[in-house]
Symmetry: C2
Subunit: 143 residues, 2 copies
Amino acid sequence: MAERKRPGHLARAVTKQAERKERGDLYAPLCPSRGVLEHVTSRWGVLVLVVLLQGTRRFSELRREVAGVSEKMLAQTLQALEQDGFVLREVYPVIPPRVDYSLTPLGREVAGHVEVLTDWIEENLSRVLEARKRHVPKRGTEE
Amino acid sequence: MAERKRPGHLARAVTKQAERKERGDLYAPLCPSRGVLEHVTSRWGVLVLVVLLQGTRRFSELRREVAGVSEKMLAQTLQALEQDGFVLREVYPVIPPRVDYSLTPLGREVAGHVEVLTDWIEENLSRVLEARKRHVPKRGTEE
DNA sequence: CAGAATCCGATTTGATACTG
DNA sequence: CAGTATCAAATCGGATTCTG
């Protein structure tokens, strides 16, 4: 073992020029996969995805469930996720306006992985908090 | 079904006042779990965790492997992850200085989940890119 | 080598209106 | 209701300089 360097596509010999559909490489600064990752792991993107995993939601409902998000950020987040094909936006021409947001099949896949992560964090928060206490801010005045 | 609202601890009746070690609630704006989530899902945090999953790394190695990160951001990211107990920092008092970074058991757990996510994104990049093409920027001039 | 500290412009974010 | 537009505040983030 001395070849496997990159985590993602390690030991995969993708070098066969543009072979398949094209896989991303997060370790290439210019790869668009970085952008996708950022949409998915963005502050509000994560929470929106996981909430939508529970079912369809309206804008105002998301606003309430994802506590703390501003209208602007929520709209912006939803647009990014919609553009990437994770979220479906359905507008009903009624008065008052009604817009439903839901996950696409693609979205359900990522959201599933994201949820595992968020669940882990919620579940293990105490362990992290313990670690923080244990952690010395600087290096102690003495050892 | 009409009770399950919150994704994370849904249908769990945590309401028994401060029962166990305390679980986080990402849907509570003030819960520290939000901070942990942000460290883990931060721009560079994600990449650092996945790289460290491959094994111990020195500062300069991380700098190279996580292409695009600046010294400042890398240091900052590592500090956050170290504080949360995900990363272990070992200093060797030699000249020139040597510092090794590795994952703690706790870190290996999160990093594992994070890797599943990043792998999915790399793997499915083409699907997302397709969705983006398909996506109409505004609402077309006509339908 | 491994950072800490500083300067400072580029983004991001968030209230607060305003619109269809 | 579901956003968009706007403006100021807060952060981010990188290049540079300086130690141990």
